[in-house]
């Protein structure tokens, strides 16, 4: 049996240190001078998470001090983009702090481009600023390392530990070292989960060797969701998966192309196609959500999902491929250089692909397409845990004591882990980590973590569970001559393939044009249960496969939650992200609510509820409203 290594008396454990986790570890030291702060990360925090290869833009910056935007402007933008379904208390809170985060990044050495005329940061769009961000992750990792007592790299966290003396209170986490195979136990008063969103739960468009070519990193294993769902935390908006319109095959970003380089899209005949889909779409979602004339006059954005809808339908109508018109912008050598830098700074593979296929965007308009769906909570979507907001903003239903604390006591989230906060991006995720850290320190200082007890039985039980795939392999491997086909087990890759296929076909993936319905979702749930049984028999031939086995189990938990939520919300709220074929219209009368779920950790049963959707409205609007009523 593997060695057991116990790290005791931790105050704050950060599980997963991408942008959210590094923010948490950094800030925790300020509020907890004498606290023991520990990071457990499955890769190496210098290059881990969605920002491993860098970013060329910070997508969430208000510019309040330059008089550019107020926090509530960003809240309205996120609300419009997500068809109303956001946690506006959490968004407002993130937005009022995010600028201080970004200015600190600049102090730390992150090269942020400046507008030579105004002196403010160079804008790519209303919310985005341009950076030379190749070393974004090493820089924020440095900040986290300076604050943390210990950083445990290469620990795959598999479960949260629960307090044996008080129900529904967290007590740390367990996992294993993906190099040594040692079992690691972290006993901690509070845990901040920053383990990121989920790629690879829907079948990707790429095949074979290219299967790692996904938009969100292949190592985004949905662990934030797997860990929190497994501990019985409530989740929200898990149905709200995201589909991205990106450069075909390479998934290169399009933001800078649209916003800064002023490129645009057209169909195979060189025609603008978006507007012609809008009248029908308007009938589906209502004029309040899609009003192209108003958008034109006021720069009110057209929601991302609705633009996807037009692209998907134009391709289905036989007028694909959709092209990004680069040939005009790229005649300017300066813009051409920016176009390439944009890839090298955050999606190098797109540059490789263009080099390999001789695409020169100066002379040829490259193809765009829509991706497979992803589940995450910091881009143009808001899946994640149901968390408390700040006391000075949140209404009662959104507030239970500590900012960014889930419904499990002492368990906090940041970044993709937190639900209802789309458009946080890198800077907002880091900011959320900071907020969670301050609240977690207060939780401890208030004495809320007194008397935590973790039984040896719990620690032993988890150990057996974690290493079972390796035992299973040893037990049955020699029943067969060789190869990967065995009647007693599947390997993690085989399990992942099955998960992706069933999610794709039953829960609205790319090959079915993002379509699903009640019947399909029920079949999906049944198949997920069967897969769950087989995951008890997943086999790992070495520690690396054990890592893949646990990533798969986390993806499976996240997927089940997605299907349960999709089933619950009987409407099509985000055409272009997914469609409920049996309820093709947006239905504000019944569904202008946030969906909240809880999976019982003992029985695996789901309970679903609706939570009210509070909006941030100006005093004047509210007064006018009162008059009408």
């Amino acid at each position: 049996m593997p060695k057991t290594i116990v790290e005791d008396n931790i105050d704050i454990l950060v599980a997963g240190a991408g942008l959210g986790g590094t923010g948490a570890a950094f800030e925790a030291r300020y509020w907890g001078k004498n606290k023991k702060i520990v990071i457990a990360e499955k890769a190496n925090i210098d290059r881990s998470g969605a920002v491993a290869q860098g970013l060329y833009a910070i997508n969430c910056y208000m510019g309040t001090r330059f008089g550019e935007n107020n926090p509530e402007d960003h809240v309205r933008y996120a609300r419009i983009d997500l068809m109303g379904m956001v946690r506006e208390d959490l968004l407002f809170d993130m937005a009022r702090h995010v600028d201080s985060t970004v200015h600190q990044f600049e102090e730390w050495g992150l090269p942020i481009m400046r507008d030579p005329k105004s002196g403010s940061y160079l804008r790519e769009g209303r919310w985005q600023i341009m950076i030379h961000g190749e070393s974004y992750k090493p820089i924020v990792a440095e900040a986290a390392k300076k604050s943390a007592d210990k950083v445990f790299n290469r620990i795959c966290v598999t479960h949260l530990l629960m307090d044996d003396s008080k129900e529904n209170r967290v007590a740390g986490a367990v996992g294993f070292n993906v190099r040594t195979g040692d079992y690691h136990v972290f006993k901690s008063k509070a845990v901040i989960v920053g383990a990121g969103g989920a790629s690879n739960i829907f079948r990707p468009r790429s095949v074979g060797e290219g299967a790692g070519r996904v938009w969100y990193a292949p190592w985004s294993s949905g662990s934030a969701y797997g860990l929190m769902i497994g501990a019985g935390a409530k989740m929200t908006q898990m149905e709200n998966r995201i589909v991205l319109a990106r450069f075909k095959d390479g998934y290169g970003p399009v933001g800078a192309y649209f916003l800064h380089l002023k490129t645009y899209t057209q169909n195979c005949n060189g025609e603008e196609y978006e507007s012609k889909w809008f009248p029908d779409l308007q009938k589906m979602v209502g004029k309040e959500y899609l009003d192209p004339e108003l958008s034109h006059a006021t720069h009110r954005p057209i929601p991302t999902c609705l633009r996807n809808h037009a692209l998907i339908n134009e391709i289905n109508a036989g007028r694909g491929p959709i092209h990004m018109v680069t040939m005009e912008a790229f005649q300017d050598p300066h813009l051409e250089e920016i176009g390439w830098h944009n890839f090298l700074g955050m999606t190098v593979g797109q540059a490789v692909l263009w080099a390999a296929t001789d695409v020169n965007p100066k002379y040829e308009n490259p193809e765009l397409t829509t991706s497979e769906p992803y589940v995450m909570g910091s881009h143009a979507t808001g899946s994640g845990a149901w968390c408390s907001g700040p006391e000075d903003v949140s209404p009662d239903e959104y507030f239970w004591g500590y900012n960014r604390m889930t419904t499990v006591e002492g368990l906090f989230g940041a970044g993709d882990a937190v639900g209802g906060t789309p458009h946080a991006f890198s800077s907002g995720s880091f900011t959320e980590g900071r907020l969670a850290a301050k609240a977690a320190c207060k939780y401890i200082d208030d004495g809320k973590a007194e008397g935590i007890r973790v039984s040896p039985e719990q620690i032993e039980r988890r150990k057996e569970e974690i290493f079972k795939p390796m035992e299973h392999y040893k037990l049955y491997r020699n029943e067969i001559v060789a190869g990967s086909v065995n009647p007693n087990y599947i390997n993690p890759r085989q399990g992942l393939d099955r998960l992706q296929k069933l999610m794709d076909e039953y829960a609205g993936g790319a090959t079915v044009n993002y379509m699903t319905n009640d019947k399909l979702l029920h079949i999906g749930l049944k198949k997920l249960k069967l897969l769950e049984e087989d995951l008890e028999k997943v086999a790992a031939k070495d520690i690396h496969e054990l890592l893949r086995a646990w990533e798969l189990k986390h993806r499976h938990l996240a997927s089940e939650s997605v299907v349960q939520h999709t089933l619950f919300r009987k409407e099509t709220r985000w055409p272009g992200y997914y469609y409920r074929g049996d309820a093709m219209k947006l239905d504000d009368e019944n569904w202008h609510v946030l969906t909240v779920s809880r999976r019982d950790p003992e029985t695996g049963e789901y309970t679903m509820e609706k939570a009210p959707c509070y909006h941030l409205v100006g005093d004047e609007e509210a007064a006018a409203d009162a008059d009408v009523a």
Binding site: F26, R29, Y30, W31, A43, N44, R47, A52, F66, P71, E72, G84, D99, W108, P111, H132, E134, S135, E142, K146, R154, V178, S206, V207, G208, E209, G210, A211, G212, R213, P218, W219, D249, E288, E337, W340, L344, V348, A351, V352, L353, W354, A355, A356, T357, D358, N360, D392, P395, R434, K442, H544, P612, C613, Y614, H615, L616, V617, G618, E620
Partner: protein, 160 residues
Amino acid sequence: MPTFVYMTRCDGCGHCVDICPSDIMHIDPTLRRAYNIEPNMCWECYSCVKACPHNAIDVRGYADFAPLGHSVRVIRDEEKGVIAWRIKSRNGETDMNLLAPITTKPWGTAIPKLSEAPEPGQEMRDSQLLFNEPKYVRMDDGDLHTLESNGLQMKAGVYY
């Protein structure tokens, strides 16, 4: 695009193994050199390529959609604070050198150690402020935005 390692350049130092976020750069036990054990879990993030002291790692576009004969090479220099790229297309018509800064400060010097920052008082703890705030959050260097200061309310119902 998945990475591969040139046999003659790799000395088995393990930097790539240490950094790969996907845990797929491993040392071959017989050859004592690194290789990509799971190309279909590679994000072509170039973290290993940038970390290799011998430029032994390169990238070849995914076999299922990228034709052979291209190259995107990189050298990252922390001391000079720059990263240099060279892109060569398959037909040779694109051959670009691109340079970008990676930091504006000598590496690792400009980040504060918060254990040495002055301890926050009770008032600060009870407020909504984070470290270093309200610096940078307001144009007039005023306090943090609140519902009251911005004339806002949280209201249930349908607002667009």
